[in-house]
Amino acid sequence: MTKVNKGYVVVANRLEFYYYSALNLISSIKEFDPDAKVCLVSEQKYLDLGGSHIADHILTCDNHPRAKLWGMANTPFDQTFYIDADCEIIHGDLPTVFDLFKDKHVLFTALTDERSYIFAEYEWGNGVSFDWCGAVCLYDMTKPLVKDLMNDWYDLTVKQYSGEWWPSAPDGTPDTVNYPKSLARWDQFSLWWLLNREPKYSDILVGRLDDEYDCRWNNFHGYEWDHCNDKEPVVFHYSNSVPKKESLARSRLR
């Protein structure tokens, strides 16, 4: 039987903050999974700062806001656990994430009603809401459908961001009634579209990394209370942290 090649993908572009966060994240991955193989995806200008030797694979990306999807699609691993750069591993259960596939092809953490107080945008139109959070993703690229999904997710998101794609109303114009334009900034929307409106992906098996109330795999720093039950968080997510805000502010001044 061929050995499945497993590893982690981390993408850092657009801000130095993400690059240093990525180095910190990779360092924490190696600490809690010493045999881990990690692929760092970043812009050349950040790689030139040094420190990338801690990664096992390097991919050079551009400065597109969603280069992370390109990085995910170009993973060198069969089974990949993608983690947002502004995360940190804080528990030794990290390698067990690869046991969570069971019968699924792709797993995300869920955007639930219970945690919706923290989301910038969640529900739209007639009660339809985003299902999945893209901060972490476990996916199996040995499944051709997953490979297609990852490539399509990147391609569609690029078109969505540039205004080349939007769902059409019956008269052929962009359907901004059922799909408000405010959704255009979210790659969760292109993902939602592919998984819910694209017949090609009707057979893809998408699952949830967390059990109900459990947020071990994307313990968002902003949760007032994480409902982690008795389980310790594994991935701690610093989205919206002070260092990130400061870095964003600096980049806007430049």
Partner: protein, 152 residues
């Protein structure tokens, strides 16, 4: 006028000689008054409190005991959740502070390029500013030694 107890009274003492209740008075003019009503068994003169008699007749001792038990458990759960939230907020704040420091450490070239895995782990695993600064100092010292060796 109609006056009655809401269904949620509970005992305020173990001896079950006083209850706390919400007493509703529906007045003839249509207004309704809800008031928090302590119901001791006896009045100051020692006689049985008529409200006590009414309470036991309307709600019954078993129901009040059951309410007391539910209330105790709810309060305990609320306290645990409040404690948990407080602990999580404190833990979050601590982790974020350390996260900020680690990123600052990576701005130092010698730290970023440090190839000593054990030292990197020490910096990353530091639990305080002082501990982290100490390990950063070790990295800087080591890099000086390397520079010196190379210049010999």
């Amino acid at each position: 006028m109609k006056a009655y107890f809401q269904s949620n009274p509970f005992w305020v003492n173990k001896e079950k000689t006083e209850a706390m209740s919400i007493y509703t008075i529906e007045k003839d003019d249509g207004t309704v008054e809800n008031r928090q009503q302590p119901v001791p068994k006896n009045l100051p003169d020692g006689s049985v409190n008529p409200l006590w008699t009414q309470l036991l007749a309307e709600i019954g001792e078993d129901r009040i005991t059951k309410n007391t038990d539910i209330r105790r458990k709810t309060k305990l759960k609320e306290k645990n959740e409040t404690d948990l939230k407080k602990n999580q907020r404190e833990r979050s704040a601590g982790l974020e502070h350390l996260f900020g420091l680690k990123l600052k450490a990576f701005e130092i070239k010698e730290v970023r390029e440090c190839t000593d895995k054990a030292l990197r782990t020490k910096i990353r695993g530091s639990k305080s500013d002082i501990e982290m600064n100490a390990w950063i100092a070790v990295v800087l010292l080591k890099s000086l030694e390397i520079d010196n060796d190379e210049s010999k």
